[in-house]
């Protein structure tokens, strides 16, 4: 599904190149649940953003579902990730001005889904996540765990093949964290969604079926 070859990314400050990612080679197959680990500043989030096409690599080749991403134009890329990728963030990143319902609906709006269909899809996912009663609340009226549930619901609404989660439990207490991780495992096992998560916790990494470690922009021990 994903094939990264010799991916490097750097920033230049005062003529000096600082590598964020250096010569990353990585293949991820459909149905995998991959955990990326590593200390702060090791390039985990950068790698995730490159995979999610939010960021460009400076060098290397990136193939996603057989498409050479590094040669595509902005518009084609956004078309791709709109269709196949869902994002989950540590800080949830819900839109404060929108209700739970509207937050979940937003990706569908951008995909020009018809109104009736939209209603059915949002109702379906609210039901699945047991948050029907919260649909008219604003994010500030929810607990962290509930907000993250909404975040995941939003990521799933357009039935993506791949979910990218950047420390999804980082702001949650352990009980809430476990619930979220259980949800991810269920999605992976029952719905066959490919998941890539960035995490600090060995325990959370254990939910996945493969772990890579990053240090100073390099993959340390590919398994």
């Amino acid at each position: 599904m994903i094939k990264l070859e010799h991916i490097s990314k750097w920033v230049t400050t005062a003529g000096l190149r600082t590598f964020l990612l250096k010569d990353i080679n990585l293949t991820i197959n459909e149905g995998e649940f991959l955990s990326i680990m590593g200390p702060s500043g090791s390039g985990k989030s950068t790698l995730l953003n490159v995979i999610g096409m939010l960021d460009d690599a400076n060098e290397g080749e990136y193939n996603f579902l057989g498409q050479p991403i590094h040669t595509l134009k902005e518009k084609q890329r956004s078309q791709l990730y709109k269709q196949y990728i869902g994002f989950v963030f540590q800080a949830y990143h819900l839109i404060d001005e929108l209700t739970v319902y509207e937050n979940i609906e937003t990706p569908l709006l951008y995909q020009d889904t018809k109104s009736a269909e939209r209603k059915a899809m949002v109702a379906d996912i609210l039901d699945r996540f047991n948050i029907v009663g919260k649909k008219d609340l604003f994010p500030s009226q929810l607990s962290g765990g509930q907000q993250q549930l909404v975040g995941i619901a939003r990521a799933l609404i357009s039935s993506p093949k791949l979910i990218l989660a950047d420390e999804p439990t980082g702001n949650l207490n352990s009980k809430q964290g476990e619930e979220i991780m259980d949800l991810f495992r269920k999605l992976n096992e029952e719905d066959g969604v490919t998941i890539i998560q960035v995490t600090h916790s060995e325990k959370n990494a254990g939910y996945g079926n493969r772990i890579i470690h990053l240090l100073d922009g390099r993959i340390e021990q590919p398994r």
């Binding site: 989030s45 953003n49 939010l54 960021d55 518009k75 956004s78 990730y81 709109k82 994002f87 963030f89 800080a91 990143h93 819900l94 839109i95 404060d96 001005e97 929108l98 509207e102 609906e105 937003t106 990706p107 709006l109 951008y110 995909q111 020009d112 939003r154 357009s158």
Partner: protein, 795 residues
């Protein structure tokens, strides 16, 4: 999708009340100004368009060029050009003459002063003034017919049918009955031809048939055949004039030493209203200087522009708060185009709200605006297709102008940077600063203009005119001779509060005479009596005043002013002769008065000559009374007046107010500029307030750290304020030279003017920075007082 945008936009507006309030306030004021100006302009260009034949109607104009190259342009002619040009030039279908005049009317033993328009019989077939009673064909079937407007008919006859009723018009010494033949609809306000009553020209001609070509006192309109090139017609005038008036031209040259060259032309009817060369006069009204249109439009556009700048600046500085939302929208699949649409939609909604509010504002301030702009515009004028299109265009342009740039900036944010909190404002944000400087430069420009106009106005009002008009009243007595004046004066003087009485011939007269044995000199001349100079406290600097006891004084004595002496080049003026060669009369100078400003200070003092020759009659009587006695003398004057002049309408005018009324145009400028200065400053300041609010928010963390490190509140307030104050200071520096130049240009119109001194700029700097500081300091102090614990914990 659109519903969703709409909802988000409204929620955003509601949540950011300061932001929305500032923008809506600014934009609605700006839009209201522009709407008013559109109304004003529409009215200006609509003048006289309602006449069905307007494309064929032209006015005959005249130019009088003197040998020294001076050209005097006039929109008026005498009686002759109309009929004579029509007789000789086949393209002229018809002509109609109209002249403003006034008649004294007696009705039910009441006496009225009635302004009238004297017109030719075909008036109603040339101009489209609909009649409500009577018929156009029979309006002037008899020369003792008059036509009234509805309002005038109501004034004289109440709700009774006016046609067939009789009004008595004073002709010479007796009243003659005139029958009302028709009643016209009230005249639309956008008409150059305004009248209350029409009197037939043939009646005036029957009294005095003026066949002089070299005499200019009425408006002559011609109707050209359809499709005629009016310039070709105009080119034929001078030849006709030279042939038909040959004798008169020759006579004038011999008798009056008339050397001027007269030439005639045409002016399209629609050009009259805004013409600065050939203005509406002698029966035409409401002339308007297009400069007012330009300046008013300019100011309105600037105010709207400043409001748009507020919107742009505030939206961009607020964008950091919205960065996260933008990032999320992009991550979940929003394309830039879709985001641009969303933000543009938001600015459109804001403009729409402002637009509606602006309509309400227009409705509320229309009466004030009318008095300021000398108009009678009505809100109902809005029901007009081009105007509505104009307003919609105004709304769209405002929405786009204000929304486009922020939409581009906001939608360009990189989601990775915004979501990971790495978004920084790179660069120094020159655009936003530049726009603040632009706003405040305009505001300063208007502040300086206001101060200068105020000072000049004050200067004119307090100017020592060289004579005293305090406690002087003026009444118009029609036409009386010396004996009658003496009787009237004596009767008035019986009241102990009345100190002096004098009179002059009504109106302002200029003439030409010869001095130094044959040199022409033109001057203003006045018929007065011996009390004139003492009453107005005008000092005699050489010679003496007229003496009523010396027959030679009344017959051939003259007093001149210093300007006259100067122009005549006299070393010793007393005893010099002034030769009125055309009526073979010589006057001897017996005294010289100090120059005084008998006209508005917008004019230089002209040479003046005064005589008391009893051959002339008196029109205006001046009454000087003791200070603070006006209330008690007025009824006495009125009663005496009624006794002496039972058929003359009585009106008491204060000479002081007469003088002040010369400065109406200055007063209007003053009001207009003050008004716009206040608006500009207000809108600029609410913008600055918004910017300061966001700046304080953006720097909450910095302020928290500074406080923890020991910075005091004043230090923090200063840190927050200086950035903005520097910009305002820069604006005053930019505005000052521009304002200095512009205002000097304006002052150049006045022969008596102030000099712009440095304190004007000092005061402006003080005002601008003071107002700005007040605006900013609220936010700065609030931010500085905040507990650092709160601001630092949130990170």
């Amino acid at each position: 999708m659109i519903k969703n945008y709409f909802r988000v936009a409204l929620r955003n507006l509601w949540r950011n009340k300061i932001f929305s309030g500032i923008n809506i306030a600014g934009l609605s004021v700006g839009l209201a100004c522009c709407m008013l100006i559109l109304l004003y302009l529409k009215d200006e260009v609509s003048f006289d368009r309602f006449h069905k034949n307007q494309a064929q109607i032209y006015r005959i104009i005249s130019q009088i060029s003197s040998p020294d190259g001076k050209v005097n342009k006039n929109g008026i002619t005498g009686m002759m050009p109309g009929p004579e040009f029509k007789a000789s030039i086949p393209e002229i279908e018809s002509f109609v003459r109209l002249q403003g005049n006034g008649y004294t009317i007696k009705h039910n033993s009441e006496i009225y002063d009635q302004p009238v328009l004297v017109v030719d019989d075909n008036f109603f077939s040339v101009f489209s003034f609909p009649l409500v009673e009577g018929s156009a064909a029979n309006a002037f079937s008899d020369m003792h017919n008059v036509v009234l407007t509805e309002a005038t008919a109501k004034k004289y006859f109440g709700n009774k049918k006016a046609v067939g009723q009789v009004l008595n018009l004073k002709n010479g010494d007796k009243f003659e009955p005139f029958v009302v033949s028709a009643v016209a609809k009230n005249i639309p306000q956008n008409s150059s031809i305004q009248f209350e009553m029409l009197v037939p020209m043939k009646f005036v001609q029957s009294q005095n048939n003026d066949t002089e070509w070299i005499n200019f006192f009425l408006n002559t309109f011609v109707v050209l055949k359809p499709g005629t090139d009016w310039q070709k017609v105009a080119a034929k005038f001078d030849k006709v004039f030279e042939v038909k008036a040959a004798d008169q031209i020759k006579q004038a040259a011999e008798k009056y030493n008339f050397k001027e060259k007269i030439s005639f032309g045409l002016q399209p009817l629609l050009d009259i209203h805004l013409s600065t060369e050939y203005t509406a006069q002698n029966g035409l009204d409401k002339a308007s200087n297009p400069v007012y249109s330009y300046i008013l439009s300019g100011i309105a556009i600037f105010i709207l522009l400043i409001a748009c700048i507020n919107f742009i600046n505030l939206t961009v500085s607020r964008s950091l708060k919205r960065a996260k939302e933008i990032g999320i929208r992009k991550v979940v699949g929003g394309q830039r185009k879709q985001l641009v649409m969303q933000f543009l939609g938001e600015s459109m909604i804001l403009s729409l709200i402002s637009f509606v509010l602006a309509l309400v504002l227009v409705f509320l301030i229309l009466p004030v605006f009318n008095s300021l702009a000398n108009k009678s515009l009505a809100f109902s004028y809005l029901a007009d297709a081009p105007l509505i299109i104009g307003y919609i265009a105004l709304f769209l342009i405002t929405g786009l102008l204000a929304g486009f740039y922020p939409a581009m900036v906001l939608s360009g944010f990189n989601p990775v940077q915004t979501l990971y909190g790495r978004q920084r404002f790179t660069g120094k944000n020159y655009l936003s600063k530049g726009m603040v400087v632009f706003q405040f430069s305009l505001a300063c420009l208007l502040i300086i203009a206001t101060i200068v106009i105020y000072s000049q106005f004050n200067y004119l009002m307090k100017f020592d005119l060289g004579y005293n008009v305090k406690n002087v009243g003026r009444v118009n007595v029609g036409n009386i001779d010396k004996e009658k004046l003496a009787l009237f004066g004596n009767e008035l003087m019986k009241n102990p509060a009345i100190e002096k009485v004098t009179a002059n011939q009504g109106g302002r007269w200029g003439t030409i005479a010869q001095v130094n044995n044959g040199t022409d000199i033109s001057f203003d001349f006045k018929i007065i009596d011996h009390n004139y100079f003492p009453l107005f406290e005008i000092p005699i600097v050489q010679g003496r005043n007229f003496s009523p006891d010396l027959a030679s004084d009344t017959a051939e004595g003259a007093i001149v002013n210093q300007s006259f002496v100067e122009k005549a080049g006299w070393k010793n003026p007393i005893g010099e002769k002034v030769d009125f060669f055309y009526n073979k009369k010589k006057y001897t100078v017996i005294g010289v008065i100090r120059d005084y400003h008998y006209q508005s200070l917008a004019e230089k003092i002209q040479p003046q000559l005064f005589i008391t020759n009893p051959a002339y009659k008196y029109g205006d009587v001046f009454i000087k009374f003791k200070p603070a006695s006006i209330a008690s003398v007025q009824p006495y004057i009125a009663a005496t007046f009624k006794n002496f002049f039972p058929v003359q309408p009585y009106q008491f005018n204060s000479k002081e107010l007469d003088t002040a009324s010369q400065y109406e145009s200055e007063l209007k400028w003053k009001q207009m500029i003050t008004f716009s200065a206040i608006l500009t400053i207000f809108i600029s300041c609410i913008g600055l307030f918004g910017l300061a609010t966001f700046a304080a928010e953006k720097r909450t963390k910095e302020i928290g750290i500074r406080k923890v490190l020991g910075a005091s509140i004043p230090v923090i307030v200063r840190t927050l304020s200086t950035d903005f104050l520097k910009l305002v200071l820069l604006s005053t520096l930019i505005a000052s030279p521009v304002a200095w130049w512009v205002m000097n240009k304006w002052l150049d119109n006045y022969p008596y003017r102030i000099q712009i001194t440095w304190w004007v700029f000092g005061l402006t700097i003080l005002l601008a920075t003071g107002i700005a500081l007040l605006t900013i300091s609220y936010q700065a102090i609030r931010a500085a007082m905040a507990n650092p614990v709160n601001s630092l914990k949130t990170e």
